[in-house]
């Protein structure tokens, strides 16, 4: 009498195996792709923020020399007239 497992035939389960490995490799791949997307978004944010910061600085620099002169006080006044 043979032990039970020897009497059993090997099941054909290639499809399940491929499905399984598609998941096991696909999920981490998707996850890493999501990193690159997050990174790209962050880099875009950073770029925007840096240009904003630069504008801020430039404006501050432009304002400084006029700041010292008495003409500066007139400046806010002519803005509404222009619009």
């Amino acid at each position: 009498m043979l032990p039970l497992p020897l009497l059993q035939e090997t099941a054909d389960t290639v499809g399940y195996m491929l499905f399984g490995y598609a998941v096991l490799l696909g999920l981490p791949a998707l996850y890493i792709v999501s990193w690159f997307m997050r990174r790209r978004n962050l880099e875009r944010d950073l770029e925007t923020l840096e240009t904003l910061a630069q504008d801020e600085k430039k404006r501050a620099e432009r304002a400084r020399p006029t700041n010292a002169s008495p003409v500066e006080s007139a400046k806010p006044a002519d803005r509404p007239s222009r619009s």
Partner: protein, 233 residues
């Protein structure tokens, strides 16, 4: 984002090579299992995913504890990164296990206690991420997440020991009697080599993912800080 340092690049390459070798062993070296056939090959990646998910959550708790002691944001970044990767591994283990269970147990899912507890563990760490999302203040968010991460990890040994408390059809991999449970099998030495190598490769995979995810987290923190500074100005 700053470029990866030389050592991180090296780690990335080593991990990629190890994963490729592991895949080669799984498909070309390991023998076909006699009863279940090819699907048994899922085992070599399924079990390391599950083990590394536990590791990831333990790392979260430890990093959380270190954060509570030191209050350095770096440790919070490690903790939250590790949760994300742990959840990735949890999903990989669950889905691949389900695909394996279909031919082996003739069902996609059973309410086997270990599966159930594993799912509950996943829910704990989903809750962890939701808690983080619900708190604005970064300092408080880190503190609360650390506390919850530590509370949550208490459930991980429960998951592990639950197999002794309830009867289960999930086979115990290492130890005696593994072949008697339905869906279990005896490992030949080639299978064992493949399995051990896959565990090594997955450990490297976890470490690499963690290192790179923390890099992303640090970059994200920098952008957030700049944003906060500009808004305040």
């Amino acid at each position: 984002m700053p470029k990866a340092s030389r050592s991180v690049q090296l780690l990335n390459i080593v991990t990629a090579v190890l994963m490729l070798i592991a895949l080669g062993l799984v498909f070309l070296y390991a023998p076909r299992e006699r009863v279940m056939g090819e699907v048994q090959r899922i085992f070599y990646f399924h079990v390391p995913s599950a083990w590394l998910s536990f590791t990831a959550f333990v790392v979260t708790a430890v990093a959380g504890a270190v954060y509570l002691r030191t209050a350095r944001p770096f440790w919070d970044q490690v903790a939250s990164s590790s949760v994300e990767i742990g959840l990735l591994f949890t999903i990989m283990a669950t889905v691949s296990g389900s695909i394996w269970a279909r031919p082996a147990w003739n069902t996609w899912w059973t309410w086997d206690p270990r599966l159930t507890t594993y799912t509950i563990m996943a829910l704990i760490y989903v809750a962890y991420l939701m808690l983080r999302q619900g708190i604005e203040d970064p300092e408080r968010r880190a503190r609360f997440a650390a506390v919850y991460g530590i509370v949550g990890v208490i459930s991980v040994p429960i998951t592990w020991f639950s197999i002794r408390w309830w009867r289960t059809i999930h086979p115990v991999v290492i130890g005696s009697g593994s072949a008697t449970a339905e869906g279990g099998f005896d490992m030949t030495s080639k299978m064992l080599t493949t399995f051990l190598f896959a565990n090594l490769a997955f450990t490297f995979l976890y470490a690499t993912l963690l290192v790179n995810r923390v890099r992303l987290a640090r970059f994200s923190e920098r952008v957030e800080q700049l944003k906060a500074r500009l808004l305040a100005a």
